[in-house]
Amino acid sequence: MLNTLTLTEVLGKLKRKEISHAELFADLQKSYAQNEKLNVFLTMNDKLAEDSEAAATKALMGVPLAIKDNFCTTGLRTTASSTVLDTFIPQYDSTVTRRLKEAGAAIQGKTNMDAWAHGSSTETSQYGRTLNPRNPEHLPGGSSGGSAAAVAADMAIAAIGSETAGSIRQPSAWCGTVGLKPTYGRVSRYGVVSMASSTDSPGPITKTVEDAALLLNHIAGHDPYDGTSSTNPVDDYTQALGQSIEGLKIGVIYMDIPGLAEVKSLFEPQLKVFEELGAHVEYAQAMDPNHAIGVYTVVQRSEVSSNLARYDGVRYGNDRSHFGDEAKRRIMLGTYTLSKGYADKYYLLAQKVRTLFLQDFARLFQKYDILVSLTSPGFAKKIGASESSAMFGELEDMLVEPSSITGLPGINVPCYHDPKTNLYLGMNIMAPMWHESEMISVADAFEKHTSWNSWRNAEKQ
């Protein structure tokens, strides 16, 4: 089944003419039978074959990619999983999808997500939740849950997601995929439905680290349409693959937070591989990630209340009565934390604590080249779990929020598989800003020297 191949494998086989596009599409088509149960794709691109053929001679050879439904795609419905945008057909492309098309990718379809990317479960989608393909009694995580599930279910060769605080890495951890969140400003936000503008970061969700590096090559770099995108030079991230990590100093953080008991004993033995590869590993004390929950909650709600003020149903979309419960909660709380008399108490305080996190990471990166932690404090939760608390997402994302509010890059790699439940644990590998290459080298080395990546272990035809 060609749909189980990685992006790199598909490109190689197409190049060597071992497979045809028609054969690839036929196998992908068969995989779509799972959509009725898993609810991964909201909209498919009817013109996929046509688009793919037109791009076949370019670098990405017309290979289809699944795109999270908050990226504007010309002529293809974009809802951000909210009925406010139920009939919205973008008249322009996000910079990410434009660049991918220019590089020869074809848009396969648009994947389900938490509505407006508000959440870590896909349960806030107004088009129904997505189920975890590894175990459908469990959630895929979110907000890029549809993109991670598409990859995990082999319904896509690779996918694009976006992260504000955990939305690429956490669903990747729960679905056993690779998810790369670049440095804030590395990848343009232009044409992405805004959530929290000071942390939103588009990135790839893939089967292997190699595929993530390849896709990052095509989407990274300055964009004149996004004033917050960086002009810093972009590496060839595929050059970071297969590099030695000997002598690297790796700090392990967040192992002493309460509630990790079950997964801590499964995670810690995985760190040995870094030592076997010649890196120095030690436990390090970082600022309490609990405080990042407070910072992120205030900053995110405040920015949401501003960003979602534009949805008035005049130029596009439906009116504000269509917002779901989670969006209402976030817009209103943000309105409150920015209102007169409360802005200092909440918003300004949160931004000051954010500074402390930046200082703390600066201190840690003086001593270590790379930091690692668990991505999520546990395995994928059961369906319905997000309905228990208005703070569900923040608690699940606690270990990735500090690096998100400080703009650091991070990548999730599968680091444990439970044969009883078929669920995965994810490792979050973080680097200083703009140091994606070092992070990719470490992730790639881990992936190649362990057995947790389901595609690297699989028997391929």
């Binding site: 209103m332 709380l333 000051k352 703070m391």
Partner: protein, 98 residues
């Protein structure tokens, strides 16, 4: 410490229509969320400057010229509007007639 949040007033400021049933649920959700946020009060931020953005970019500008590559035609601009008239958007009335 319980914070009394003026939910209906915030709903009005945010232009979000809510029912009285929703108002009660939102009150409870806000209390739960703010209880977590309140924990920040314990952090010493004396002499700490706030961080509003992390990349350090300043005064990002562009030439004041028209970029014709991303200009919408009138038809494209109106393509997603629910209500249009004579090539214009129809907007809700905000000024009373008398």
């Amino acid at each position: 410490m319980k914070t009394q949040i003026p939910v209906s007033h915030i709903a009005k400021l945010a232009n979000i229509p809510i029912t009285s049933d929703e108002e009660q649920k939102l009150q409870a959700a806000f209390e739960e969320t703010l209880a977590v946020v309140e924990e920040l009060q314990a952090v010493d931020v004396t002499d700490v400057q706030p961080t509003f953005q992390v990349t350090g970019l300043e005064n990002v500008t562009r030439e004041d010229t028209i970029d014709e590559t991303r200009m919408f035609t009138q038809e494209q601009a109106l393509a997603n509007a629910r209500a249009t008239a004579d090539g214009y958007f129809v907007v809700p009335q905000i000024i009373s007639q008398d």
